[in-house]
Structure formats: structure tokens, C-alpha cells
């Protein structure tokens, strides 16, 4: 099921087991994975993203054996070639092969997407856990910082940072993550606050566990599901933001191929060579679509808050 799940839809798999009292006890993870497997759209999208990752990693091989050109190879006699046998998706203003550049562009999008989300998780998760666990003034201070980060309009902050540091893959990820961690922190903090006061936390503390152990061994595993859900749901948005920055000329710069800068480059020629604009945009759209649908499936299967 796509989109907002209702309690009814979520409850279905469990209801199927209801009659069997002898059902073996399942861990949360295996139960969730089982639920995940039943979501066909989500699984297909997951494999699509995986396929793209493989393509991105194998980019040099594909360029050598399939398209036979490097992403920066220029052929002046195939300028503005429409899609044909030699250039399957056409060629740009200096005769660079669009398909090859798209393949290399996927490296940028995916690398920034995953790196950014990883950073958001580490920073946002860390801040959220600490704020939620310690509460009181620690919580107050950290959450005010989050408020400030979220008050500055994201796109303005991206632009500001982009002119301060000319971005490469890594700095671009840091720039985008510097905004997104706030949302993760709020989420994790809320969940930590509710878990902190459960009996098992008190029991663990009473046998002498310190704060560090309590946070890492007992609190973290309990907030991990919502962190994973938030992360998978964020990948699409991050890829979109990265492409927008590239498109504006404030992200990854040419000659490195990225979907965003291919689009902004071909903007000039799109009246006579529409395919130069169509394909990079289509790649962004399909990738984000797959990532989002996979994210939805992960949320439906793993989000503990939906099980009620």
C-alpha cells in the first residue's frame, strides 16, 4: 500500500496470525522484515535503488564496455546528436555521451544522498538521545539550538554555505546535513523522552549501569527503528536538494557530471535538443520516487508508532 497507512492496513498481517496460539515468538526485527516482504511495491523500489547503487559503483566498467566513452570525452562531430545507435540517449553541446554522464552522475546523487543521511543520523541521533535522556536544561539548550537551525530557511542556508565553501562531494553532504539533523534530533528526542521513564530503564540503572551504557545499550536500540525510518524517508529529499543546488550552480561543478548540473547546462539548448533536459530530470524523478516508495514501505513495516 502506498502513502499514509491506516491502522487497519497495518494491522492486517498480525491479524492473520491471530488464531495460532502456537506461533513461535518472533523478534521485532524478523516480524518487521516479514511485513516488509509483503509490500511488493516497496520491495521492487528497494531493488531499483540497489540496482542504481550497483550502476554507480560499476560506472567505469559500464563506460568502458557498454558506452565506450568517458564522461568527459568530447566528439565534435556528434554535437547535439539526438538519441541514436552510437549515443543511446544523445550527446550534448560538445558531443559528450549523455548516458555515460548520467551513469557517472548517479555516483554524485547517491553518494551525497547516503553520506548526508548518515551524518544526519549520527548528529541528530546523538543530540536527540542526549537531550531526551538527560532532560531538563540539557534538553532545553539542545532543543533551542535545533530551533535555531530549523528557523533558518534551508535553501538560504545551503546557498550561504555553498558560497562560503566551494563544495565537493563531502562538503556538499555536510552542508545539506547541517540542516536535516535538526528534524532527526527532534524525533529521536521525543521518543527517548517516552522510553527514558520506562521500568526497564530504572531497573537497569538500579543494578548500576552508567549513563553511557544506558544510552548506548538500552535507549539506542529502542529508538533505532524510528531512526531507520527517518533515514530512509530522507534519502529522496536529500537527493532532490542536492540536484537543486547543482542546478543552481552552487553544488558540484562541471566537468564532474551530476544530474543537476547536466540540467542547468542543457537549459540553454533545450529549445532544439529537448532530450538533454528530459533524461537527467527523469533520472532524478525516478530515483527519488523509488527512494520515497521504499522509505514508505520501511515506515509501514518498521515504525513502532504505527503499531497500535
Amino acid at each position: 500500500m502506498i502513502g499514509q497507512p491506516t491502522a487497519e492496513e497495518i494491522g492486517t498481517p498480525a491479524a492473520g496470525h491471530e488464531g495460532r496460539a502456537d506461533r513461535p515468538a518472533q523478534s521485532y526485527w524478523s516480524e518487521s522484515l516479514e511485513r516488509m516482504r509483503q509490500n511488493r511495491v516497496g520491495i521492487v523500489c528497494g531493488y531499483a535503488v540497489l540496482a542504481l547503487v550497483v550502476i554507480a559503483i560499476c560506472a567505469p566498467l559500464l563506460a568502458q564496455f557498454v558506452t565506450h566513452v568517458t564522461p568527459t570525452h568530447q566528439e565534435l562531430d556528434s554535437q547535439f546528436d539526438p538519441p541514436n545507435a552510437q549515443h543511446w540517449l544523445g550527446a550534448d553541446e560538445v558531443g559528450r555521451d549523455t548516458l555515460t554522464r548520467l551513469i557517472y552522475g548517479s555516483q554524485v546523487s547517491l553518494a551525497v544522498g547516503f553520506l548526508t543521511v548518515a551524518m544526519q543520523l549520527v548528529v541528530g541521533g546523538g543530540v536527540g538521545l542526549v537531550a531526551g535522556y538527560f532532560g531538563r536544561w540539557v534538553d532545553e539548550v539542545l532543543m533551542r539550538i535545533v530551533d535555531v537551525v530549523l528557523a533558518i530557511p534551508a535553501i538560504f542556508l545551503f546557498i550561504l554555505m555553498s558560497i562560503l565553501f566551494r563544495p565537493n562531494l563531502l562538503t556538499l553532504s555536510v552542508i545539506i546535513a547541517s540542516v536535516g539533523w535538526g528534524g532527526v534530533a527532534r524525533l529521536v528526542r521525543g521518543e527517548s523522552l517516552s522510553i527514558r521513564n520506562r521500568d526497564f530503564m530504572l531497573a537497569t540503572r538500579s543494578v548500576g549501569a552508567g549513563s553511557g551504557r544506558l544510552i548506548l545499550r538500552h535507549l539506542l536500540p529502542n529508538v533505532l527503528p524510528i531512526m531507520i525510518v527517518a533515514a530512509t524517508l530522507n534519502v529522496g529529499a536529500v537527493i532532490l536538494a542536492e540536484a537543486a543546488l547543482d542546478f543552481l550552480g552552487l553544488g558540484i561543478h562541471p566537468p564532474t557530471a551530476s544530474w543537476g548540473n547536466m540540467l542547468s547546462n542543457s537549459q540553454t539548448y533545450f529549445t532544439h535538443s529537448a532530450w538533454l533536459v528530459v533524461f537527467p530530470g527523469l533520472m532524478i524523478f525516478l530515483t527519488v520516487l523509488a527512494a520515497n516508495l521504499f522509505g514508505n514501505a520501511v515506515r509501514d513495516a518498521f515504525d513502532p508508532r504505527l503499531k497500535s
Binding site: I2, G3, Q4, T6, R144, I145, D147, V148, A151, I152, P153, A154, I155, F156, L157, I159, L160, S162, I163, L164, G236, L240, A243, A244, F247, L248, G249, L250, L263, Q267, F270, T271, A274, V277, V278, P280, G281, I284, F285, V288, L289, N292, L293
Partner: protein, 344 residues
């Protein structure tokens, strides 16, 4: 209610301080020496540099510079509290005096530029939000009433696609179709950029034609998200006891749907629309860039490409303060609509 307003306003103060401190520190660390390379100019003696720095107030402690930039120092001076500044002078006009700084490139004032373009930006985003609301509610209600039907599935697919489509690409595609191809086919076509035709244009119809495409592109995401929320919120309301009661006592179905369920279902939507209030100024940056719409987004973008730090920082400060104000207004809006919020 008054207590709620005050509590919210007080909670916003640390955020304002944080935001301004953040931009101040960035400004200080990038252009703190005011003219980059001042120290490297062989024609300037050490004494002259010292004099310039003093004239600009850069030798003062950081906190005084911050207070000065905020405009607090100015107000303290007015109130006769200047002594608290430790004898340091208030030199530059500050934020509270309505001065957000000047461009590093052409010296124009940030506030002036921003207010010149604010109407354009507001026009664009408000139109997009109105389009979003007008279309998302019927779509959501239809989806909920015919849940699982082909129509519902189509709406679902559209909204999933609407969130994933890059705005700048959608914009380019629309330009390609409605401006370029329509012109090539000899059909009436839409203008691809600006707010009005430069010469001879500017009447209402012309402005509307210019507004149409960017507003539609911008409204796409709103439409996608809000129609989903209306749908699920409507479904939730329709399964409530009061709906059953209303049906049980024989109320016509239309009455139940529109007078009872829909009204309650719209409360979360108000929250969502309210969430866009802070984005009123910044939300359309990419769209403004694609359609050459002379709003604040395009201004920021053009100034960023010119490395006009002071202008960009001024706009960021201004926009962030607007976000804080927007959040406050949104909070008050919910509190008025939903008594549970202000009482808790």
C-alpha cells in the same frame, strides 16, 4: 489566551538571538576585517589600517559589535544605558533600526532590495498555496469517499509522483511545452519568465499569464502532500463514533460528510498550511530561479553567484526572523482554532 501568546513570544526570543548570533558570527569570520586583503595592500600603512578599522568599529569587543549590529546598543543609548557598553561607541545602524546592512557589490541596502521584491514573492507563494488548498481538499475528500477505487489509486500515484518530481525540472518541462512548443505550433503560448512583458505589458491578463506556470509548479508539492493528509484525516473522521451517530439518526449522507466529518478533518490541514507560513519567503527560490521571477529567492540566488556576502547574510537574517514570526502566527492560529492546544 493572553498567557499562551506571551509564553509563545518569550519562547521565540532565544531563537531570535540564536539566529542573529549565527549570521553575525559568519559575517564576522568572513568579512570581519571588512575589506578582504586590506592588510595586504602595500599602499596602506599600519597606522591607516588601524584608523580604518577604528572608524568601522572593528576594534571593539565582539559582544559590543554584536549588540551594535542588532541595534540594541542604539536603543540602550536612547534609554541612557550606554554606560553598560563599557564606553564603546554605537557606530553602525542595526537590525532594530531596520538596517540589515548593505551590498558588498553595489552598496544598495538589503532592506530596500528585500522590500522591493517582497510583493512578488508573496504573490507567487500565496497563489501557489491557494491553488494547493483549492485543489487538494476536493481531491482528498474524493479519494477518501471512494477509497480503493481506480480514482483513489490515481490520486495516490499522482501525489507520490508530485513529491518526487524536481521543481526545476517540472518548470523546464512546462516551459518547453507551453512556451516553446506552443509557440512553434502557432498556438497561444505562455511567457517563460518575469512578472510582466517588459514593454507594453503589465495589464492584469499579462501578469496572470506570467504568474500561472511558476505558481502551478510551486503548488505541486503542496497539492501532493495536502491531498494525502485530507484523505487520511477524512478517513479517520469518517470512522468516528459521532459519524455513526449522525448516520444512525438518519442524517443525509451529504450532511454527514460535509458538515460534520469534513470540518473536523480540516483541522490538521490548517496546521499543515500554517507550516508553510514561514516558507512564504524562501519556499519558491528554485522556482523563482527557473522562471526568472524577480522575488527574494532570485535576488538571493543572483547575489550568491556574485559572492555578495553582506547581501546574502542580510537576506538570511531577514528571512529567518520572518520564519520565527511565521511560526508564532501559525501557533496562534491553531490556538484560536483548536482550544485543546492553548489549554494543555
Amino acid at each position: 489566551m493572553i498567557q499562551f501568546v506571551v509564553r509563545r513570544a518569550v519562547a521565540a526570543i532565544p531563537v531570535v538571538i540564536g539566529v542573529t548570533l549565527f549570521t553575525f558570527l559568519i559575517m564576522h569570520s568572513t568579512i570581519g576585517s571588512y575589506v578582504p586583503g586590506l592588510d595586504l595592500n602595500p599602499n596602506l600603512k599600519a597606522k591607516d589600517i588601524e584608523q580604518i578599522r577604528r572608524a568601522l568599529g572593528l576594534e571593539r569587543p565582539l559582544y559590543v559589535q554584536y549588540l551594535d549590529w542588532l541595534g540594541v546598543a542604539f536603543i540602550m543609548g536612547k534609554l541612557g544605558l550606554a554606560g553598560l557598553l563599557g564606553g564603546w561607541q554605537n557606530i553602525t545602524p542595526g537590525l532594530l533600526e531596520g538596517d540589515f546592512g548593505h551590498s558588498l557589490v553595489d552598496g544598495t541596502s538589503v532592506a530596500g532590495q528585500v522590500f522591493d521584491r517582497l510583493p512578488n514573492t508573496i504573490l507567487l507563494t500565496v497563489t501557489a498555496i491557494v491553488i494547493g488548498v483549492l485543489f487538494s481538499i476536493p481531491l482528498g475528500v474524493m479519494g477518501a469517499l471512494r477509497r480503493g477505487s481506480r480514482l483513489d489509486n490515481l490520486f495516490t500515484a499522482l501525489s507520490v509522483g508530485g513529491v518526487a518530481v524536481p521543481q526545476f525540472w517540472l518548470g523546464l518541462m512546462l516551459i518547453l511545452l507551453f512556451s516553446v512548443q506552443f509557440q512553434a505550433w502557432g498556438l497561444p503560448f505562455l511567457p517563460s519568465s518575469g512578472v510582466a512583458t517588459p514593454f507594453g505589458g503589465g495589464d492584469l491578463l499579462d501578469r496572470f499569464a506570467h504568474l500561472l506556470m511558476p505558481a502551478i509548479v510551486l503548488s505541486f508539492v503542496y497539492l501532493a502532500i495536502w491531498s494525502r493528509y485530507t484523505r487520511s484525516s477524512m478517513l479517520e473522521q469518517l470512522s468516528q463514533d459521532y459519524v455513526r451517530t449522525a448516520r444512525a439518526k438518519g442524517m443525509p449522507e451529504r450532511h454527514v460528510t460535509y458538515r460534520h466529518a469534513l470540518r473536523n478533518a480540516l483541522i490538521p490541514l490548517v496546521t499543515l498550511v500554517g507550516l508553510e507560513l514561514p516558507g512564504l519567503v524562501s519556499g519558491g527560490l528554485v522556482v523563482e530561479a527557473v522562471f526568472g521571477w524577480p522575488g527574494i529567492g532570485l535576488l538571493t540566488y543572483q547575489r550568491a553567484l556574485a559572492y555578495d556576502f553582506t547581501m546574502v547574510l542580510g537576506i538570511v537574517t531577514f528571512a529567518s526572523l520572518l520564519v520565527v514570526a511565521g511560526n508564532l502566527i501559525a501557533d496562534l492560529l491553531y490556538a484560536t482554532l483548536d482550544p485543546r492546544i492553548r489549554l494543555s
